[in-house]
Amino acid sequence: MPTEVLVPPLGQTVDVVKLVSWYKNEGDAVHQGEPLFVIETDKATLDVEAPASGILRRVTAVPGDDVKVLSAIAMIAGVSDDADEQRSGRAEEHPITPAPLPPSPPAPDRLFISPRARCLAETEGIPLAQVKPTGPEGAIIERDVRAYLQGAGIGDQGSGGRDQGTGVRGQGTEDGGREVPGNITPVARRIAEEAGLDWRVLAGTGPRGQITREDVEAALERRSRGAEEQGSGGAEAHPASNLQPPTSNFQPPASSLQLSGIRAVIAGRMVTSHSRTAPVTLTAEADATALVELRRQLVADGVGVSYNDLFLAILAKALREHPRLNASLDGETIKLWERIDIGLAVDAEHGLLVPVVRDVDRKGLAQLAVETKALTGRARAGKCTPDELAGGTFTLTNLGTFGIDAFTPIINLPECAILGVGRIKTRPTWIADRVEPRQMVWLSLTFDHRLVDGGPAARFLQRVAQLVERPHLLMA
């Protein structure tokens, strides 16, 4: 079963990217998950991994080409797919081979698609491997192609054809192969599609979990009831607005907020970070008993430090020793920063703000305490200057005060990494051969694997954990 190599979708606004280079040549063996090619957007370059293992075939784009997202630029042929080509190749080399080759077994993974669906797919330029088959015997039929068109937002909305309106992007199956037809009765499917309801999210109550007419009608009832309570028919009104991804339920929102201003900025940055980095999160548990005691003594002695201040100091020391984590990616250049300017995630009233504490490594705890207090106060009051919110080299985010143990922070682009600090909690812990109550904390480090590998990042986190456990080393 050949797998199409697709240009990945990048964020919501990127339609075309530049193909920078291939890591593999046509005919090379590739392994699923290894970097296959490099693309460049207006903001970054990024490796794209091979979607399957096999032989790279039918490469249609060369470095420098502008390629559309979701377009196929090559195929990865499975070994069995390749057998025919290899066989014919061998036959030419050894034309007198007497023994006839055994007939090739029927390819179990060939694509089944109705002529009508194939015509439509070819007209629209749709990669068939991406279309989810729901037809008889697992074949792709017209409605599947139309569902894909709708989902990809390139459909002929006005054609009035039937079987439209699922609003669901056809999702390729995991192996790109065949799948049982949609587990829904025809009448249920029709009712759902006519009402613009995404039946794929429904739980079926029929035989073998089949979605029945009753299931669909119940979902529609829930939807309309929600719409009435909202005092508007809004939920019903736009079944055709399928460009939005399907929501997970059919209740109308309790209230609606415009995605604008700071919310829009946050949304844009987060999705960019999430889609354009190669984030990996490492977690480690550290014994913060000594850190808790250190803070108690400092506060008792009149130095009003927060845990954030202590973590800033710890990070500053660790970053000085691990400069690869104090870095940013600028185009194709990884920049290692001399200064250590750490952003501090602040839960302000209108959303997340990250004011930056400058030169953290050059400041004592007392100064850090004063500065961060003023800085976070200005952030919460919405009075930070743009300069105070830009130019960080690393970010610290602390959800411990909310009782969160561990999480997967999102990298604050263009930085390399972010440390998430969980709550400090007394837990029974083995010390040598006995259990003691210790103040434990989870540390969550998310780093961009494009800039740094797992080993250096792990060593950095290990050092941070060590400084948490033995804060006197901050003096060393």
């Binding site: 109705s114 002529p115 009508r116 669906a117 194939r118 015509c119 037809g135 008889p136 074949a139 039929i141 017209e142 039937r162 009765t185 025809p186 009448v187 249920a188 499917r189 029709r190 009712i191």
Partner: protein
């Protein structure tokens, strides 16, 4: 408008044509004998009272003989309406129909016309293997014959009148369960559709099919009894959200190909329902036409719902299994979604 059965509509068509044209006459077995049924299914009942035994000709039980007389009369300028009691008996008349009626016009370079009508009842009706076959396919295969298969009273009258006026031999297949024959010729389990027939003169052109039920999800083609099976299936399918279009071709040769292809291009699916045996059947021919001419419009395999490749069984329960049911049509259609 008058409500009437197919048997009555056919009788009215013959009566009108015989009144209109003195060259029209009927020939068959027991079609006009006193105290008879008026043919096997009452179509010619009472016609000998009006037209006499010179124009309602009863013959010995010799299908080859009566067909030969009819073909000869047609070649000589008369317009015979011949009939056999059961279409199964057409095998006995095959030489006259296949070698003479179908070929004379070609062999004579068009100078000899054969304006013959041959009526023949088809369908399994608890009479066993030799009185139950559906013979349409054989005659569709013979160039030179036209073949019609009316399933309603309106079409029966209009098509028979067109057949009488056609200068080529026309085989008219009629279904025993659709006649609406009365009295001792009442058929068990008959549908006997009664339909409106205009009081004024009209013709149904040979070669024109009709959409019996418009739909957009699947095209089901049925003729004679199976057209009704298709309609029943469409009703069941509608409850399941499948909107079936039912087409009655009415004429099998020449086929209203474009009507069927247009429907298939719309729905993307084709199911053909036929009472005849599967192999080499009319359904297969339609499937081939659709595959050749509408392949790229198909969204699912073409499906035939036919009788299995065995003779029609005599046991009623076996016969019910043999003749395609609405349920079988429903199952075939659902498998395409």
């Amino acid at each position: 408008m008058t409500q009437m059965s197919i048997a009555e509509a056919l009788r009215q068509a013959i009566r009108e044509e015989m009144r209109r044209d003195p060259t029209v006459f009927c020939i068959g077995e027991d079609i006009g004998i006193p105290g008879g049924f008026g043919g096997a299914f009452t179509v010619t009942l009472g016609l000998s009272d009006e037209f006499g035994h010179d124009r309602i000709l009863d013959t010995p039980i010799s299908e080859l003989g009566l067909t030969g007389v009819a073909v000869g009369a047609a070649m000589a300028g008369l317009r015979p309406i011949a009939d056999v009691q059961y279409s199964d008996f057409l095998y006995l008349a095959m030489d006259q129909l296949a070698n003479n009626a179908a070929k004379m016009r070609y062999m004579s370079g068009g100078t000899v016309k054969v304006p013959l009508v041959m009526r023949a009842p088809v369908g399994a009706t608890a009479r066993g293997a030799q009185h139950a076959q559906s013979m349409e396919t054989f005659f569709c295969h013979l160039p030179g014959l036209k073949v019609v298969a009316p399933a309603t009273a309106y079409d029966a009258k209009g098509l028979l009148k067109s057949a009488v006026r056609d200068d080529n031999p026309v085989i008219v297949f009629e279904h025993k369960l659709l006649y609406g024959s009365k009295g001792p010729r009442t058929e068990k389990g008959a549908l006997s559709p009664v339909g409106e027939v205009p009081d004024e003169e009209y013709l149904v052109p040979i070669g024109k099919g009709i959409i019996r039920r418009p739909g957009k999800d699947v095209t089901i083609v049925g003729k004679l009894l199976t057209m009704y099976r298709a309609l029943a299936a469409a009703d069941i399918l509608a409850q399941d959200g499948i909107d079936a279009e039912v087409i009655d071709p009415r004429t099998l040769v020449p086929l209203d190909k474009e009507l069927i292809l247009e429907s298939v291009r719309k729905t993307g699916r084709l199911v053909i329902v036929e009472e005849d045996n599967l192999t080499g059947g009319w359904a297969g021919e339609l499937a081939a036409i659709a595959a050749e001419e509408a392949f790229f419009w198909l969204d699912a395999p073409i499906k035939r719902v036919s009788a299995p490749d065995v003779p029609p069984p005599f046991a009623p329960v076996m016969e019910q299994f043999y003749v395609p049911s609405a349920e079988r049509v429903v199952a075939a259609v659902k498998a395409l979604f």
